[in-house]
C-alpha cells in the first residue's frame, strides 16, 4: 500500500512475571492508511492495548520486552530509542479512564500547553492561548475559564474532551485511542465518538481505535483487525468483518452479537476461554474452542491468507487449498 502512514511488522512483546514469561503479542503486522480509522478489536488480554502501547513507548521495561518487530512511521522505527520526539507530537494518545489520566494537581490548560511548549517550542503565553482554542474545538463551554481549572472540576466526558484536546495539540498524524469510551456512559460515548470523527475530517489524521465494543467499531472504523491470543486473526474492511466474517472466531463473535436485522435470533456464546499465554499453543490459538477444528490446527500455526481480492485476510487453515470444501464455513466459491 502506498498511502500507508504507519506500518507495523512482526511485532512481538513479552512480559516477565512471577509465573513465567507471558507472550502478550505475537507477530502482529498491520498497516494504517492515511486519514482512515483502523479498529483493533478483541477480548480482554488479547494484546490489543500492549500493541499500541509498544508503539507509544509505554511498555514498562522491565518487566516488558519488545523481542521482535518494526513499526515504521515516516521512515523512523517507533520501537527504537530515539522515537520520543514523535510521541505527543506526530502521534497523540487518549486512554480508557479520563478521570485518572490527567494530572490532578495541574491546571487543564497547563497540561495541554505543556505538549506545545515541549514539541513546538511555543512560548508559555502562546501555548496557553492555543490550549484555550483547542478546548473550544473540542466543544468545552467557556474554554477560557475551564483552562484554569483542575481535573477534579471536570466531569468524565469533559475530561475525555480535554484529553483529546491534549492529544491533538500538535496536530498529530495519528491518534491512538485506547478504549476511549469504555468508562463513559452511552450518551457521552456517542458525543466523544462524534467529536473524534469531526476532528478526523478537519485534520485528516488517522486513528487507531482499540475497543471490545463491536458497535463502536461499526460506527467508526474503515479497517478492522481482530486480535485473539496475541495475534491478528482476521483483518479487512469494516464491511468484510461484519458481513463476510472469514475466521471462525470472528464468526463466533457475530453469532454472539445482537442484530437489528434478525431481532429474534438466539445469541450463541463462544464456549471455553482463550489459551494461556504463558505457553501459547503450538498450533492455532483458537483451535480448542473452534467448532470446525481439524487435526492440522492443533499442530501447525495457520498463517494469514487472503480471503478475496481486497485486503481481507484471515489466519485459518480452512482457507488452505487442501482444506475440505464440504461443510467448510469459511471458503466461498
Amino acid at each position: 500500500m502506498t498511502d500507508s502512514i504507519l506500518s507495523v511488522r512482526d511485532l512481538a512483546v513479552e512480559f516477565d512475571t512471577f509465573g513465567g514469561v507471558v507472550k502478550a503479542v505475537r507477530n502482529v503486522s498491520f498497516d494504517l492508511t492515511a486519514g482512515q480509522t483502523l479498529a483493533i478489536v478483541g477480548e480482554s488480554g488479547c494484546g490489543k492495548s500492549v500493541t499500541v502501547q509498544s508503539l507509544m513507548g509505554l511498555i514498562p521495561m522491565p518487566p516488558g520486552r519488545i523481542t521482535h518487530g518494526r513499526a515504521l512511521f515516516k521512515d523512523q522505527d517507533l520501537l527504537s530509542i530515539g522515537a520520543r520526539g514523535i510521541r505527543g507530537h506526530h502521534m497523540g494518545m487518549i486512554f480508557q479512564d479520563p478521570m485518572t489520566s490527567l494530572n490532578p494537581t495541574m491546571r487543564i490548560g497547563d497540561q495541554i500547553a505543556e505538549t506545545l511548549v515541549v514539541h513546538k517550542q511555543y512560548s508559555r503565553k502562546h501555548a496557553q492561548d492555543e490550549a484555550v482554542s483547542l478546548l473550544a474545538r473540542t466543544h468545552i463551554p467557556e474554554p477560557g475559564r475551564r483552562a484554569n481549572q483542575y481535573p477534579f472540576e471536570f466531569s468524565g466526558g469533559m475530561l475525555q474532551r480535554a484529553m483529546i484536546a491534549q492529544a491533538l495539540a500538535c496536530e498529530p498524524a495519528i491518534l491512538i485511542a485506547d478504549e476511549p469510551t469504555t468508562a463513559l456512559d452511552v450518551t457521552i460515548q456517542a458525543q466523544i465518538l462524534e467529536l473524534m470523527q469531526t476532528l478526523q475530517q478537519d485534520n485528516g489524521m488517522s486513528i487507531i481505535l482499540i475497543t471490545h465494543d463491536l458497535a463502536v467499531v461499526a460506527r467508526m472504523a474503515d479497517q478492522v483487525a481482530v486480535m485473539y491470543a496475541g495475534e491478528i486473526v482476521e483483518t479487512g474492511s469494516v464491511e468484510d468483518i461484519f458481513y463476510q466474517p472469514a475466521h471462525p472466531y470472528n464468526q463466533g463473535l457475530q453469532q454472539a452479537m445482537t442484530s437489528n436485522q434478525q431481532p429474534d435470533r438466539v445469541l450463541s456464546p463462544i464456549p471455553g476461554s482463550p489459551p494461556d499465554l504463558f505457553s501459547p499453543p503450538k498450533g492455532c490459538g483458537y483451535c480448542k474452542r473452534c467448532p470446525h477444528a481439524m487435526s492440522v490446527c492443533a499442530e501447525h500455526p495457520p498463517y494469514l491468507t487472503a480471503v478475496d481480492a481486497s485486503s481481507h485476510q484471515s489466519r485459518c487453515w480452512l482457507h488452505h487449498e487442501l482444506a475440505p470444501v464440504h461443510n467448510n464455513p469459511v471458503r466461498r466459491p
Binding site: 507530537h89 486512554f95 489520566s101 495541574m106
Partner: protein, 311 residues
C-alpha cells in the same frame, strides 16, 4: 480562603484555652508546690510567701487571675529564678529553640523528599537498599545517641583537619547550628524518606504518568512537573505533627550541645514545680504548634488544588 483561615484560627484559640486550663489544674493536682524546694522554711515565712504569690487563695480564684493575666500576655514571675519574668525567659530562649527547630525541619523535609524520591527511582537496586537501611537506623536509634555520635564525630574531624571545621558545642553563629539541627532532624528525615518513597512509587504507577509519557515528555520533566508535586502531598500532611515532635523533642539535643534553648527551662520547671514557668512555656509551645499546624494546612491548600476549594 479567608473564611477557612479564620475558622482554623478560632479553633486554634479554643485549643490553646483548653491546653492552658488542663495544664493549670493538672499541675495543681500534683502533690507539693514550688515553695517546697526552699529548704527549712518556717511556717511564718511560708505563709508570707504564699500570700505574696497568691497561693493561699482558692484554686478557682487563682485560675481566674491566671487566665486574666494570660489574656494580657503576662505569665508572671518565676518561683525558682529570682526576679526573672516568665515572658523574659521565653523571649530570650525561645528564638534559639525556634531557629534550631526550623532548621531541623528544613533539613528533614528536604532530605526526606530527596532521599525518598531517589529510593523510589532506584527501587530495589543498590542505592535504594543502602538508603533504606540507614532509614531504619534513623527511625530506631534514639536522638541522644545521634547527638553524642555527632559531637564525637566533630571532635575527630576537627582533630584531623587541625582547624575548627564546626564547633562541637555552644551557640552563637550559623556553624553552631548545623550539627545539632542535623541530629535533631535525623529521625524525622528517616520517617519522611519512607513516606516519600511509598508515595513516589504509588504516583509512578498512576495513569497520568503514563499520559505524560505518551505526551513525549522527557524523564526529567515528568519527574519534576508530574511526579514530585503529587508525591509530596502525604509528606506535607505529616509535616505539622512532625514540627511539634521536633520542637518539643529538642530538649535532649539542646542539652548535649549546650544550647541555651527553651527546652531546658521547660523540663527544669516541671521538676521544680515552678508554676508560672510551666504555664508560660506550655501555653506558649501550645500556641506555637497550633500556629504551625494551621500554616501547614494552608501550605497544603497551595499544593493540592482539591483542598483549596472544599475548605
Amino acid at each position: 480562603m479567608f473564611r477557612y483561615i479564620a475558622k482554623r484560627l478560632l479553633a486554634g484559640v479554643i485549643t490553646i484555652w483548653f491546653i492552658a486550663t488542663a495544664t493549670f489544674f493538672a499541675m495543681h493536682a500534683v502533690p507539693g508546690d514550688p515553695l517546697m524546694n526552699d529548704r527549712a522554711v518556717s511556717d511564718e515565712v511560708r505563709r508570707n510567701l504564699e500570700a505574696r504569690y497568691g497561693l493561699d487563695k482558692p484554686l478557682g480564684e487563682q485560675y481566674i487571675i491566671f487566665i486574666s493575666n494570660m489574656l494580657r500576655g503576662d505569665f508572671g514571675i518565676s518561683f525558682t529564678q529570682q526576679n526573672r519574668r516568665v515572658n523574659d525567659i521565653i523571649r530570650e530562649h525561645f528564638p534559639v529553640s525556634a531557629i534550631l527547630g526550623i532548621l531541623a525541619i528544613i533539613i528533614a523535609a528536604l532530605g526526606g523528599i530527596l532521599w525518598g524520591a531517589l529510593t523510589a527511582l532506584y527501587r530495589n537496586r543498590l542505592p535504594d537498599i543502602l538508603i533504606m537501611l540507614l532509614v531504619i537506623l534513623g527511625i530506631s536509634v534514639p536522638g541522644f545517641v545521634f547527638a553524642a555520635t555527632g559531637q564525637l564525630a566533630l571532635v575527630h574531624v576537627n582533630a584531623i583537619f587541625g582547624v575548627k571545621v564546626l564547633p562541637v558545642a555552644g551557640w552563637g553563629t550559623f556553624s553552631h547550628m548545623l550539627m545539632p539541627a542535623l541530629v535533631l532532624g535525623l529521625g524525622t528525615m528517616a520517617l519522611l524518606t519512607r513516606l516519600m518513597r511509598t508515595s513516589m512509587i504509588d504516583v509512578m504507577g498512576e495513569d497520568y504518568i503514563r499520559t505524560a509519557h505518551a505526551k513525549g515528555l522527557s524523564k526529567q520533566r515528568i519527574f519534576l512537573r508530574h511526579q514530585l508535586r503529587n508525591a509530596i502531598l502525604p509528606v506535607v500532611t505529616v509535616l505539622g505533627p512532625q514540627i511539634s515532635a521536633i520542637t518539643t523533642g529538642g530538649f535532649v539535643v539542646e542539652y548535649v550541645f549546650a544550647i541555651p534553648g527553651l527546652g531546658r527551662y521547660f523540663v527544669q520547671a516541671v521538676q521544680q514545680l515552678d508554676y508560672t514557668v510551666i504555664m508560660g512555656t506550655t501555653v506558649f509551645y501550645g500556641a506555637f504548634l497550633v500556629l504551625m499546624v494551621i500554616l501547614v494546612d494552608i501550605l497544603y491548600g497551595f499544593i493540592d488544588p482539591r483542598v483549596r476549594v472544599s475548605a
